[in-house]
């Protein structure tokens, strides 16, 4: 059966009480869009048998696919699996292999498995079991016969996923998405064009002629912290000729945005920087002040980072800047730690101390305190140093402490990109 519409139901009193921010709905909503599945409602409901059952039935009367997240835990208030099975008229049966996986999970952690975790291996009879590669609760996919007057054979698909986002997203991407792709009659081809150094509305303005006249492909701008990107999606109906309508649009974007485009594809900025370092055989280190380890930590998210990344120094106090990196007291006393000169000496000192080909330094005022008339919150200096010399960049970032630090991190990666490409 083809799936055209979906509803996302997130289960959990912690969502109803606002203790947890609901990021699962957004993740799944984006996935539905890219699968070409329409979604007209998202719902949050608590761990209450009657209300949950009622909501599942109502959603099933409206949509072909119901995705439920949360409430698969081991405790008695985790009822989603039981309620959904109940609505679909299925018994929960013990699954030996899931139980083995849960046991194994605890063994790896050198922890005793509490008795109640056995409950997580109770799954609806005949369901497709979704293995949890990042936690204990397995998920499940099964069908619910939900006839209507027009369609007496109508079947609704239930997908049950765990609540923790890291478990849910992995399970969906690896196991559910491939199944759903086979159940749609429209194919969507999507490409992303990532930009750095230009705001979303400015970027959209520059290609407003393309955006205003879009039909197929569709072009949508998105803003992320400190960067933006365009999604270009071409719709191909089954049986239709597969002509590439996306490349001409990307070509126009390249003409208009030039070096602001850092990626056509999926690579984040740090991966682009990493790939360039690897390609050129260069090693790197960072000297971080206001970012305080965030650049290094994010860079190491890339598996294999050790091939190019040696280490870093977080020089938060001024004494550490001079003792470890040799920043002159003259600079610190007269120009301050947030200055062009300090950034330069930090980068040069780090390159020497850690013995890398390239060093990038970051020093700035992240706020909320520490600003002055001459040095407002958001003022950040970055420097990149290599055998050819040192280059310093001054940027002015907006937003709170966290945003200033996040965007400064991106600038650090972008400096590597610009230097090596």
């Amino acid at each position: 059966m083809l799936i055209k519409t979906a509803e996302i139901i997130c289960v959990g009193t912690e969502l109803l009480m606002g203790q947890t921010l609901n990021t699962n709905s957004q993740f799944l909503a984006k996935e539905m869009v890219s699968l070409g599945i329409a979604s007209y409602h998202q719902v949050v409901v608590g761990d209450n048998h009657e209300r949950l059952a009622e909501q599942i039935k109502e959603s099933a009367s409206r949509a072909d696919l119901i995705i439920l997240t949360g409430g698969l835990g081991p405790t008695t208030d985790d009822i989603t699996m039981g309620v959904a099975a109940d609505v679909a008229g299925k018994e929960l049966v013990f699954d030996e292999e899931s139980f083995k996986n849960i046991t194994e999970y605890f063994r790896k952690m050198c922890r005793n498995m509490p008795k109640n975790n056995r409950k997580q291996a109770m799954l609806p009879e005949g369901c497709t079991i979704l293995k949890n590669n990042n936690g204990t609760a397995p998920g499940a996919m099964f069908e619910y016969s939900c006839p209507t007057d027009e369609d007496p054979d109508r079947v609704v698909h239930f997908v049950l996923l765990p609540g923790p986002p890291s478990e849910m997203s992995l399970m969906f991407t690896e196991q559910v998405r491939p199944l759903l792709e086979k159940m749609s009659d429209t194919k969507f081809v999507t490409k992303f064009v990532h930009l750095f150094g230009i705001g979303e509305s400015d970027a959209a303005d520059r290609i407003s002629d393309l955006i205003d006249n879009q039909t197929n492909p569709t072009i949508a701008p998105y803003a992320m912290t400190g960067e933006c990107y365009f999604r270009i999606t071409q719709r191909i109906e089954k049986g239709e000729e597969e002509k590439d309508l996306i490349t001409p649009i990307i070509d126009t974007m390249r003409e208009r945005f030039g070096q602001c485009i850092y990626e056509v594809g999926d690579r984040p900025l740090k991966q682009v920087a990493y790939d360039l370092l690897l390609e050129k055989g260069k090693t790197v280190c960072f000297a971080e002040s206001c970012t305080a380890g965030m650049v290094s930590s994010e860079f190491v998210d890339i598996p294999g980072a050790s091939q190019v990344f040696m280490g870093s120094v977080v020089t938060y106090g001024n004494k550490v800047k001079s003792n470890l990196l040799g920043v002159s007291t003259d600079v610190l006393d007269n120009l301050g730690a947030v200055s062009r000169e300090c950034a330069q000496e930090m980068a040069e000192g780090a390159r020497k101390l850690l013995g890398t080909d390239i060093a990038v330094s970051i020093t700035g005022i992240a706020g909320p305190t520490g600003e002055s008339a001459a040095k407002p919150v958001g003022l950040v200096y970055l420097a990149i140093s290599d055998e050819n010399g040192t280059e310093v960049k001054e940027v002015h970032l907006s937003g709170n402490r966290m945003r200033v630090r996040r965007v400064a991190v991106l600038h650090a990666f972008n400096m590597i990109r610009m230097r090596l490409s």
Copy 2:
């Protein structure tokens, strides 16, 4: 009329498509909790007249208060005000003062007001107008007569707020909340008990007698990455004596969980560590391998971190471990970088290099590569060094690279807590 239950309806196709993260629901949910208003459903619906009207009617059949956010903008797809007024059987009428406010808003921003912004001054007859002090769209509060068999005089309250979080939250806090406080007869008192070093289901097991017998207060366990917490909520009806029923439960928890409880309140683990350092007048630095700056970066999220935090070294490569921290080649060659001895020498070396009272080191295998039979993914050694000596801890963490690193960060903060408390 008293308000006991509420539903939050967020309106917007951008939410259904996942372009925008729904933070409004969380904000309003928390507000409802603190007002003692129960909420059993949250809904997201698009800018579609029929579906929105149907949702409002359904929600109104279940709850005393319906809060709608979004869809108050000037364009034709902003329909929330019209649809809600329609459901309540009210006409939209032009409000002179709201129009003046909108005009004034544009004047202040030195921008011309587009013609279609006049639409935002069309408000339901007889409503309480909510002024927008942070944007153009005014909100509104009005009643909807919604009789049931049991209550022929039943009235439901509608509150309509703009979608942008900065406008919505300000309008709610300044204008809606004071009105709602007068309309509730129940007060809720909530306390949180945070634990580290014990899993959610294990923790729930240990107080299953309390959880199974709960009526008032209610006790609920929650899992977060690497830690868990209990929410204890006591319900106090108006006129009832305010007897503290929560403290006896916390006392029992303290007996059963001992040092696993790191906080009764709102402070995250890193804040507890920071407060202890500040209280004892100690400075700290970190030597990070697998976490690669994440401990330092998270610690610096705390404003005022510079009072106790001097800096850190990220020693990702072995050469950096020996050159900067003096880890002996003997240890690195024979025992490896992920060993008890390496952690110890890293902490001691960092304390010396950075001249702090305390140093914490972290070295481990975050995966996905680098494991061996003797050293599986998730094996992490941490050491804490101060004037009294150095202590090493071995932990086994589960999950992917990101989770292993995140939980290792928590262990680093916990080592500080344990050492100083």
